[in-house]
């Protein structure tokens, strides 16, 4: 169904326009803040708009099945590159998530001191790129947004970072860039092969799915995609850019990195890599299992050794992303829906934890665990939220992460019991470091006699917002899971 | 008969060149080279290219080599001290490369030319001139322009401040 208003293009260009306007207004920090927030809110409303329309509409000519919103414009016709956007249930959820997390990021960066206008403008630009990635159905467009995401992110880390920002930026850039170049090669190879087979040179994803790829070559191409996505994920041995980047980025940067950029990789695997190369992905599945399970356990274990809270959360974040990889590897409807759910939950829980660490950092000017202790007695409200998000992250039922982890594990157990068993072990390790974090921050004697300020109204509103989502998704995740159902049936039956 | 002459000329050519590249002084090398170029000119003649043979003598042995001599004398480079000579160690990479090149060429030659029967046809000057000006007229023009540029360049480089 194509509506009169080009919602999909608007979703991409609204934040970009916002970024320009905020940049223009950067002299006045408060105007820039409110404008950015207004654009964030408008984007969120726009992202939720498709919930209201009829999503079961009959298939139209030229529109791939399952996509209830679709736009197709010619762009660089010479090479068969088109500006094709489409939205199904999966992208709808991701788009809403992106809009939500961006609002949280904008509010969380309310107190940035240096060049705030530029900072917010970069955040909005990043949002535009991520939205574009979640919506594009043209591989070239996808690649374009994939690279475009990098640029604002690099500036966010490099300019506003702490610690060793330049080192982290370069590391982040090199890792992701190597991966994406390989992906570009694979995309071009696929494009040429499809052109040679059918005579029509196109980057359109639905068309490329019908390319017959020789098995050996398919392995290489899928490997290139997998490597690229695995770096962004990040999966086990390719992760060392991640703790550095997460640690040195400013709060909103970490939030965007952990909550959204890692999801783009998982989204790419689900939307592109697995459907394009069914045989090759089957062949490499054991590798993904091993890497995912190793990641879950190894990162949880390493997280335990950290003294820097942000670094601990960085490892915790990758550990949880292991469940997403596990669910995708199983490639059964239940497991993949669990993986998608875990993407949403991970974005919210981990994002919330990073925001909270930012708040603690702001107050105590330290992220070292030994500088904390007895926070519960000082700021009970802050501590309450900290506890909730940590318990969600540890997979306590009734909160969001439990649901998705259960679905993933039940789904994976059906296909690969051994992998599921390893992940179960990981859930014990997860609890160990989570409880340690909670204990060293909240409990014990007050190690520093500093006075910590209680949560302000601005911070409180963010935390309440996040906590409500955490509980809602833990108790009643049905609406979100229902959105995944139709697209997954289409994806997995191919 | 002609073949014998050819082989004798080839021997002169190769020995002259060898002497030229191993000569201790540049002036001597040029004299040796003039000898081998005369042999080459005769070989051209034997191969039915009298025009090229004449040009070889006139331009190469006559003009270019004299130009070399002229420069050497102008810059007073005659004494061996002024021009560094190759050390013994310099010859090894050269020899190694030469061996490799010759070996590779030999392999290529032996595998390709064996089937071709011997025999030459003379090419009359008329045909030569016809091809040159009819078919490659543009090339002639370009070469003449190149000569002009070289002239300008040489003048520019050689001017005194």
């Amino acid at each position: 169904m194509t509506s009169l208003i080009p919602i999909l293009s608007l979703l991409i260009f609204l934040p970009l326009v916002g970024a320009l306007l905020v940049f223009a207004l950067r002299q006045s920090a408060s105007a820039a803040r409110w404008l950015a927030l207004a654009f964030g809110a408008a984007e969120f409303v726009l992202a939720c708009a498709p919930l209201a329309i009829d999503r079961q509409g009959t298939a139209q000519v030229g529109v791939p099945t399952g996509f209830f919103l679709y736009q197709d414009h010619g762009w660089i016709d010479r090479f068969g590159i088109r500006f094709t956007l489409g939205m199904d249930g999966i992208s709808l959820v991701m788009v809403i998530l992106t809009a939500f997390i961006t609002i949280v990021a904008i509010i969380a960066s309310w107190k940035v001191k240096e060049r705030q206008g530029l900072y917010l403008s970069l955040l909005l630009a990043l949002q535009g790129a991520v939205q574009g990635l979640f919506l594009s159905l043209d591989l070239f467009l996808f690649y374009l947004f994939w690279e475009a995401m990098l640029i604002p992110m690099l500036f966010l880390i490099g300019v506003w970072g702490t610690g060793r920002p330049v080192y982290s930026t370069i590391k982040f850039f090199l890792y992701t860039f190597v991966g994406s170049l390989l992906m570009l090669l694979a995309i071009i190879a696929l494009y040429l092969m499809h052109g040679a087979q059918t005579g029509s040179y196109t980057f359109a994803l639905p068309a490329l799915m019908h390319t017959t790829v020789p098995y050996q070559l398919g392995l290489w191409l899928f490997g290139a995609f997998l490597l690229s996505f695995a770096i962004k994920f990040p999966l086990f041995p390719l992760h060392t850019w991640q703790p550095d980047a997460y640690c040195d980025a400013p709060v909103a940067g970490t939030l965007m990195l952990a909550s959204l950029l890692s999801k783009t990789a998982a989204y790419g695997l689900i939307r592109i890599a697995y459907p394009l190369f069914p045989e090759a992905s089957r062949a490499l599945t054991p590798l993904v299992y091993v890497v995912a399970v190793l990641g879950i356990c190894y990162f949880a274990w390493v997280a335990f050794a950290q003294r820097d809270m942000k670094r601990m959360l960085a490892y915790s974040s990758v550990s949880h992303m292991g469940f997403v990889a596990l669910g995708i590897a199983a490639w059964s409807p239940v497991a993949v829906s669990g993986a998608l759910m875990q993407m949403v939950n991970h974005a919210i829980t981990t994002g919330a934890l990073f925001v909270m660490v930012g708040m603690l950092d702001e107050r105590a000017e330290s992220r070292d665990l030994s500088d904390f202790g007895g926070v519960w007695g000082k700021v009970p409200v802050l501590a309450f939220f900290f506890l909730i998000f940590n318990m969600a992250s540890a997979g306590v039922p009734g909160l969001n992460n439990f649901v998705s982890e259960l679905i993933v594990l039940v789904g994976v157990f059906k296909v690969a019991p051994a992998a599921a068993l390893g992940a179960f072990l990981g859930s014990v390790l997860t609890l160990i470091y989570t409880v340690r974090l909670v204990q060293e921050v909240l409990f014990g004697k007050e190690s520093k006699p500093t006075v910590l300020a209680e949560v302000s109204l601005r911070e409180g509103s963010v935390l309440v917002l996040l906590a409500v989502v955490v509980v809602y998704l833990g108790v009643h995740p049905g609406p979100v899971l229902d959105l995944f159902k139709a697209p997954l049936e289409l994806l997995l039956n191919k | 008969m002609e073949a014998t002459v050819f082989y004798i000329l080839a021997a002169i050519l190769l020995i002259g060149t060898l002497c030229a590249i191993t000569a201790r002084q540049a002036v001597r090398a040029i004299v040796y080279l003039v000898v081998s170029f005369f042999a080459l000119a005769l070989m051209f003649y034997l191969l039915g290219a009298p025009l090229i043979a004449a040009f070889e003598v006139i331009i190469y042995a006559g003009a270019i080599m004299v130009l070399f001599l002229f420069v050497i004398m102008m810059l007073e480079l005659e004494s061996p001290e002024k021009l560094p000579k190759p050390r013994f160690s310099d010859w090894w990479p050269a020899l190694a490369l030469v061996v490799v090149v010759v070996g590779a060429l030999a392999v290529l030659l032996l595998s390709h030319v064996r089937a071709v029967p011997p025999g030459f046809t003379d090419i009359p000057v008329r045909q030569f001139a016809y091809t040159l000006f009819k078919q490659y007229g543009v090339a002639v023009e370009i070469v003449s322009m190149q000569l002009l540029f070289a002239l300008v360049g040489a003048l520019y480089l050689g001017r005194r401040k």
């Binding site: - | 030229a20 190759p86 030319v113």
Partner: protein, 102 residues
């Protein structure tokens, strides 16, 4: 004449190799390097003429002629440069001209 083409080519390649050796061995002496280049060019000319005679086509000879024109241009420029460089540094030792060092 009953010399096989391959013999001509062998002679040409030997000559070419000698020129190459000359260029490489006299690494510091710019005059001898130019001489080496002349030797190589002559070897190429021999190949052209031999081929031309073998197939009875004038193009080979013609290219020899072009080569000669080219060589004369090249030599005149090269020697002009030698003069120029000598004027600047009072030497023609190529090892002394290394301002392009990376």
């Amino acid at each position: 004449m009953s010399v096989p083409l391959s013999h001509i080519l062998i002679v040409a390649s030997l000559m070419f190799a000698m020129g190459l050796g000359c260029v490489i061995a006299w690494r510091a002496n710019v005059i001898m390097m130019l001489i080496g280049i002349e030797i190589m060019l002559n070897a190429v000319m021999l190949t052209f003429v031999g081929g031309s005679a073998h197939w009875g086509i004038a193009d080979g000879q013609l290219f020899s002629l072009m080569l000669m024109a080219l060589t004369s241009a090249e030599v005149s420029l090269a020697l002009a440069m030698v003069v120029y460089l000598h004027r600047r540094k009072q030497t023609v030792n190529t090892d002394r001209f290394d301002s392009m060092k990376g």
